[in-house]
């Protein structure tokens, strides 16, 4: 079977998404799935997620994990979830670790906590609302 990978003659696709990687005669099975700009790769029990960086044409590994941490002064849900309770309001002065929101997903409560001491600038959600990951729920000003 001929190689189907552009740029690497040592990679052979053997079925859709399944490849053999040949390195000096030692073969490794690799699985790849594409989802828009995201590429998932499975090798030897490990899964890697790559995101295509627009412009450069190169791909990088998603280094920073998307979590319930602060992104540029805002807090967002780590996954689709329901806002169970809002425990803060604009103008509130909060301590690091204080629970600001409680989300619910998959029957588990997920608290969103203040990443450091600061002031709440805005709250962009209401109780009972279904929220998407990455969408700002609480704006936060560091002290």
């Amino acid at each position: 079977m001929g190689p189907v990978m552009a740029g690497d003659p040592n990679v052979t696709e053997i079925s859709p998404g399944e490849m053999l990687l040949d390195r000096d005669g030692r073969r490794t099975r690799v699985f790849v799935a594409v989802d828009g700009d995201v590429r998932w790769v499975f090798v030897d029990g490990r899964t890697y997620r790559f995101e295509e960086v627009r412009g450069g044409g190169s791909k990088r590994f998603e280094g920073v994990r998307r979590g319930s941490g602060a992104h540029g002064g805002s807090l967002s849900a780590p996954m689709p979830a329901t806002v169970l309770r809002i425990q803060t309001s604009p103008g509130a002065v909060v301590k690091k670790g204080e629970t600001l929101l409680v989300l619910e997903a998959m029957k588990m409560e997920l608290p969103l906590r203040a990443p450091q001491d600061g002031t709440i600038a805005a709250v962009h959600c209401s109780e009972g609302q279904l929220v998407q990951p990455g969408v700002s729920l609480v704006e936060f000003t560091e002290q």
């Binding site: 499975f42 890697y48 689709p80 619910e104």
Partner: protein, 522 residues
Amino acid sequence: MDFRRDQGLGTRNLIKRLLIANRGEIAVRIIRACREAGIESVAAYSDADERAVHVLAADRAVHLGPAPATDSYLSVRKIIEAARTSGADAIHPGYGFLSENPALAGACAQAGLTFVGPPADVIAKMGSKIGARRLMERAGVPVVPGVTPSDQSDAGIVSAIESVGLPALVKPSSGGGGKGMRAIRALDEAWEAVAAARREALASFGDGTLYVERLVQRPRHVEIQIFADAEGHAVHLFERECSVQRRHQKIIEESPSVAVTPALRARMGEAAVAAARAAGYRNAGTVEFLLEGTGDDAGFYFLEMNTRLQVEHPVTEAVAGVDIVRAQLDVAGGASLPWTQETLVQRGHAIEARVYAEDPANDFLPQAGQILLYREPSGPGVRVDSGITGGSEVTVHYDPLLAKVVAFAESRDAAIARAAAALREYPILGIRTNVAFLGAILAHPSFRAGEISTAFVDERIDELVGADGIPPEVEAAARAYRPRDTTAVDVPTPGPFGHARPEGRAYSAPPDPWTALTGWGR
């Protein structure tokens, strides 16, 4: 003419059509048993599961209602209605959902349906941790030190925590599976923890009653599978070691336990059978114990009794060489136990690894999305029970358990090696899973040495969830890969596999799985 008569087992089985009041891997497991028993299977499904694996696998399917479990899989009324409209004469509840809710068993009895499980009053008795504990004490089964607060206010629970002493464990009086359970190590955490435990108890089980006990530190979690029939026969099918857990959610289970000697096994088995008899038990159940120490003199305490089929039942099926689900159907249908204690033998070693849709690197947050590529491992001694396939949507509505990999071999070392090898051949792409984390546990020297307790994962979390470097060939593969549909010009000559059509949406640049979820948008 009943063709089941020719199949040996189940000649007295009265069940003809079984409704499975569950979803995912356990529904698929029960459908398999139905096939073998000559029973027609009926899948039940919510809006979110219209094209789920369990629905496609069953002989018939009935729609229950909207995606939220309270409107579908947790609705007794809808389940009974589904049994009626599909002409089912029996209901198997699986695990979770309504399996330990006496209301379903009771409604079945009223509607003249066979419930595959114990009678409603037994479920109710054992479902109350307070009542179960009293019953076990009377039956001479050792129990964990604790108190049963009659004042169920937050203040009452907090003062119960104080009197039991720290560390303490607060858990819902109904239900199990770690939902709503909170360990309290300092009193200033108690109020928030109690409130959260109560809300989760209400949300998961519809009952906010809480129970407080002393947290036995670094115990092993060892449970005994029991089985009883309507004629008063009761046996145990040995132990399962379930110490590898996180936040009371089991991750790896095995049988036998390295901590259990033949003498201890006999004592625990006898206690479990005594518990079953005291409860008036029927069908398959599990008596969970906390084990302190190892060997002949180890102490064990009754933790709870699960009045249902257990997630980890395949481990017992492997070492005892039995089919627990088939036996459930037969016994529910009126047959007597297919085994006696003397005929049951524990042989070899089995290990189960639970595959969850969760992100270990991100505090094990449950994940949702579409499975883009899916391939199950197989081979001698490898069993995979799963409820997903390529193209499946994993939603936020239900438990994140995707599949179970069960390895059976002649020794513990061989079973570990077999499970680890199977996990290395289990690509699930499109969503983060704990597959690599499971591999890290199986590879850990302490796990291999059998040095495990319920604190095993928490104490080694940094070792088990290490940041991975990216091997250069992995990055090369990611960069080099050209999906055939979208960049056909990059594919030179079609090879022998070149005409294979891609499956599902994996090759047509689907939208981001987050945005593909409907109903979430704002």
